[in-house]
């Protein structure tokens, strides 16, 4: 029951983050969307054994978190769903890929590296996505998608689905609260009532969704969100921001910058 509460709170919390008056939030949404997509593609295309090279890619999300004044702890919390899945997917590599590799003077399985890169890829992808949605409201994200010529039908579906998730969750919360208040001392919901509760949730959700839709129709909605018609101009800063990060991400994906920096530091110190 706390779960539904938490989910609603988290969704609204993300909306609140995206609505902040912070300079990262003001960067053009298309710039942020393109950078995020480019970053994820670069991260995913790293060699399965290049743990050190891939680690350098952490610079984009980490710098983003700092610049956007986002909590790294909150970002890590977002990993709780993805991380176990990624670990589970990488686990077989540990046993199947038994090619011996020398690392820091120790002989280890290559599978260990492929598992670590998979975990890193998962973490970086989640961080980058979190950075995007925590600094860009859904309206702006949809606007950016439209600029990329994603069909209007798809964008509208995406937007309405997001809105209706909250409606459905709110209904689920009301129902579970009503149940809990009349099921004293009971843990969770009894299996026997799951069927009727789910059916009722669907009906109530549809009812609420219809009301919301009617409210939209009565205020001039005709299949297009007003915000999508608003034009957001590109500023000089947006272009600079894009060029800087695009260059850095490309550099990190092409050249092993982190080992080079390590070498350089090593030489200076030694």
């Amino acid at each position: 029951m706390r779960g539904i509460d938490g989910a609603i709170y988290e969704i609204h919390g993300m909306d609140a983050l995206a609505a902040r008056k912070q300079w990262m939030n003001e960067v053009h949404p298309l710039v942020k969307l393109l950078l995020t997509l480019g970053y994820i593609v670069s991260v995913v295309s790293f060699s399965r054994y290049d743990v050190i090279g891939l680690t350098g890619m952490a610079v984009y999300p980490l710098a983003g978190f700092l610049l956007a004044e986002l909590s790294l702890r909150e970002g890590c919390r977002r990993l709780r769903v993805v991380l176990p899945i990624v670990c589970l997917m990488g686990l077989p590599d540990l046993f199947l890929d038994r090619q011996p590799v020398l690392f820091l003077g120790l002989q280890v399985n290559a599978g260990l590296f492929s598992m670590l890169t998979l975990v890193e890829k998962g973490i970086f992808a989640v961080f980058a996505s979190y950075l995007l949605i925590a600094t860009t409201s859904l309206d702006k994200l949809c606007y950016a998608l439209r600029l990329l010529h994603v069909p209007k039908v798809l964008v509208t579906q995406f937007m309405l689905t997001y809105r209706y998730i909250t409606v459905l969750l709110e209904e689920a919360e009301r129902m579970t609260q009503a149940y809990a208040l009349r099921a004293n001392g009971q843990k969770g919901i009894r299996f026997k009532v799951w069927g009727s509760l789910t059916g009722l949730l669907l009906l109530r959700g549809m009812d609420r969704a219809e009301n919301v839709y009617e409210a939209m129709l009565l205020r001039g909605y005709e299949g297009d969100y007003g915000y999508l018609r608003e034009k957001l101009p590109f500023r000089f800063g947006d272009i600079l921001y894009f060029l800087f990060w695009a260059a850095l991400i490309t550099a990190f994906s092409i050249w092993p910058l982190l080992p080079l920096v390590g070498d350089l530091i090593g030489r200076i110190w030694i």
Partner: protein, 250 residues
């Protein structure tokens, strides 16, 4: 002053075939009239308002808004003139912040951003909700949501205001504020409510529904003081006319 009028003639409607909720409803309202639609629960007050707004287009009879028949092809013209305040404010407000929600309609009607901003400011000022402008909707109380839902239709500058149970969830101070807002709106308004005290304070005319029909249509004061008729229709006299004792502080 607008020249808006509502003409309803022989209106019959039911959600299921053979089960009519409203049957043979006829009434007219014009200009700056303020009409209260009263009746017990489930009598069809909300349905009547929805029919006027074109939310249930499959009815028999005639519904005309300023001589425009309410039918599929005319809905967008009609809706641009009507402001509908839902019974449940949670259904009405669907954007993240108050500003975005109140700006939803003006933006949909393609107004420039400056005008949108002006309208939002004005609507919030009219409802006394300026301080909520940047607030997130999920963090608001029921009463605040109600005020914002009224502001969200006022920003459309409608000619007709349809309100479904507008005083629900309001505390006495906000209720008083609502009465002030409603009395300050000089266009045509229809208020469906069983808060008879509110009807008495805001409407000069009332339409009493019972069994899907109009039982009486006349001056609100006359109708709302007819205890026998109200009782027959499942209602009671407004609280202010019931002569209830009040406790005095000594």
């Amino acid at each position: 002053m607008s020249h808006i009028r509502i003409d309803v003639e022989g209106l019959t409607f039911g959600y299921e075939k053979g089960k009519e909720i409203l049957s043979g409803i006829s009434f007219h309202a014009a200009e700056s009239e303020s009409v209260g639609i009263i009746g017990e629960n489930g009598v069809g007050k909300s349905t009547l308002l929805k029919l006027l707004a074109g939310l249930c287009p499959e009815y028999t009879g005639s519904v005309r808004i300023e001589d425009i028949p309410v039918e599929k092809s005319t809905l967008s013209r009609i809706r641009s003139r009507i402001g509908y305040v839902f019974q449940d404010a949670d259904s009405q407000l669907f954007m993240n912040t108050v500003y975005e929600d109140v700006a939803f309609a003006p933006r949909n009607y393609g107004l420039p951003e400056k005008e949108v901003e002006r309208r939002v400011e004005q609507a919030l000022k009219m409802t006394g909700a300026e301080h909520l402008k940047e607030k997130q909707i999920y963090r608001m109380s029921g009463g605040e949501k109600k005020l914002v839902s009224i502001a969200s239709v006022l920003s459309m500058t409608p000619d007709i205001l349809l309100l479904d149970e507008p005083s629900g969830a309001l505390d006495p101070k906000n209720r008083r504020n609502l009465i002030r807002i409603l009395n300050g709106f000089d266009h045509l308004k229809l208020i469906a409510s069983h808060d008879l005290d509110l009807i008495l304070e805001t409407c000069e005319r009332a339409v009493l529904l019972h069994g899907g029909r109009i039982v009486k249509d006349g001056p609100a004061e006359e109708l709302l003081t007819d205890g026998k008729l109200l009782e027959e229709c499942g209602l009671e006299l407004p609280l202010c006319l019931q002569g209830r004792r009040t406790y005095k502080m000594h």
